[in-house]
Amino acid sequence: MAGCGDNSERTVTVSAASSLTDAFTEIGEAFSEQNPDVTIRFNFAGSSTLAEQINAGAPVDVFAAASPTAMQRAVDARSVDTPLPFATNSLAIAVPLQNPAGISGLEDLSDPSVTLVVCDAPVPCGAAAAELFAKNDLTIEPASLEPDVRAVLTKIIVDEADAGIVYRTDLNAAVGDVKGIQISDDINVVDEYLIAVTSDANPDGSRFVEFVTSDDGQRILRSWGFMRP
């Protein structure tokens, strides 16, 4: 994903959790409006995968992770500077539009006949789902562990699975493609999103981080369903 632009152009490469796809794309557009001479490039994937890439030396300027655990891996490898929390997210259940398995709440997921998909354990969404089930004393056997939350969403959209654990924000992104079932805050888990510049980032990286934590950035995040940090 390394930029090959000439020196006169300024680019910022941002690796962000896949749950941030829509929000950050909009933030990127807003940032470019205010800073026309800077181009933003995005790389969306599971946060843990992104951390691995950055630690292996991927030329990224900013890292936005969906969990402190994922960010910690980059911190431990000294690939990033001090991270800042910038949003929080909670989980929700996504079902196909027709809701073929008739899911109404979290307990329905423990029915073995329900085909459930969640994120793979190391991915923040997956870790959060495991925490969610543990918190609610549920023994769940998913049918598949997807590499990132968008893959979970896809399986629901094509009606291949009966239900999936996604972020609340993902429901907003997939309006019309899936049906959402909210999980109330008292039984839900909260994921803290952190953002940091990489240790070899160019100065525009910090400006992007500032924008994300600014009122403008926060307003966009809020509009997509993210909660305050």
Partner: protein, 271 residues
């Protein structure tokens, strides 16, 4: 006279030199990643990593599904190759193109097309699901399907080529000796292409073993059910680089063993 001879001699010596250079670059290109892998292998932790449940389950699943996929590819692919090689019909080139499609298609795309056909809302899959409650995605059968899908073209290509190469007169001889078309196939045709047939099966098996994109897209990823070795490597890469490397090593070792034991016999030999 001598000058001409000398320059001729020089010309024929030059060509091999350039060839040697590029050949060496090619070998390096293929070998260096291998060496890199071996250097990064955590040899001390290897026994523990390889006996973990993730590793053993993934290995067992990979071996079982790849062998089944190779079997499916053979049972379906040999008759197909026979029809393509022996029969002439309109649209033959089109059929052959379709058969070879998985060779050029990105495996993930292959997985998506399998979903549209055999997913529970798919063209065929919906009947499997509504009438029998069978859902191929998320099942080991789904893994076998995905692997067979990408592996079959290898077998068809190899066998069709071999069938075109043998002298069909042997089959005619067999008929005059009283052999039915079925006897001809099993006692004359297939034995005569046995070397290519084996090569095709091994190629298909190797391809099935290494399949990732179609498997993860169509069958999903769950340890013990659908998480084959390649998927396990991808999964553990998110967590532990060491474990991912260890698993990669297993995959490499299994593949190398089989390919070496074939001793290059699949390199398009006649019959």
């Amino acid at each position: 006279m001598t000058t001409a001879q000398r320059s001729v001699g020089k010309a024929s010596a030059k060509a091999p030199a350039i060839v040697m250079v590029f050949a060496l670059i090619a070998v390096a290109f293929l070998f260096i990643p291998l060496i890199g892998l071996l250097l990064e292998t955590p040899w001390a932790q290897l026994p523990a990593l390889l006996t973990s449940t993730t590793a053993t389950e993934a290995l067992r699943l990979s071996i079982v599904t790849s062998l089944l996929a190779a079997a499916v590819a053979t049972i379906l692919g040999v008759p197909l190759a026979w029809v393509l090689a022996r029969k002439e019909f309109t649209g033959q080139r089109f059929v052959r193109a379709i058969v070879l499609l998985p060779l050029v298609l990105p495996p993930v795309v292959g997985g998506v097309t399998l979903l549209t056909a055999f997913g529970r809302r798919g063209l065929v899959g919906q009947y499997l699901y509504d009438w029998f409650g069978i859902q191929l995605p998320f099942s080991t059968a789904g893994v076998v399907m995905a692997e067979a899908f990408v592996a079959m073209p290898f077998l068809v290509i190899t066998v069709e080529g071999a069938l075109r190469n043998i002298d069909t007169r042997y089959e005619q001889v067999a008929r005059t000796l009283g052999a039915s078309p079925r006897t001809v196939l099993f006692r004359v045709t297939l034995p005569m292409i046995s070397a290519s047939l084996v090569a095709g099966i091994v190629l298909a098996w190797a391809r099935a073993l290494g399949e990732f994109g179609a498997t993860i897209t169509f069958a999903g990823n769950f340890p013990g059910v659908t998480q084959t070795l390649p998927l396990a490597v991808y999964s553990t890469l998110e967590v532990s680089r060491d474990e991912a490397i260890a698993l990669s090593l297993v995959l490499l070792a299994v593949s190398l063993t089989v390919l070496v034991s074939l001793r290059g016999r699949f390199l398009g030999s006649r019959t």
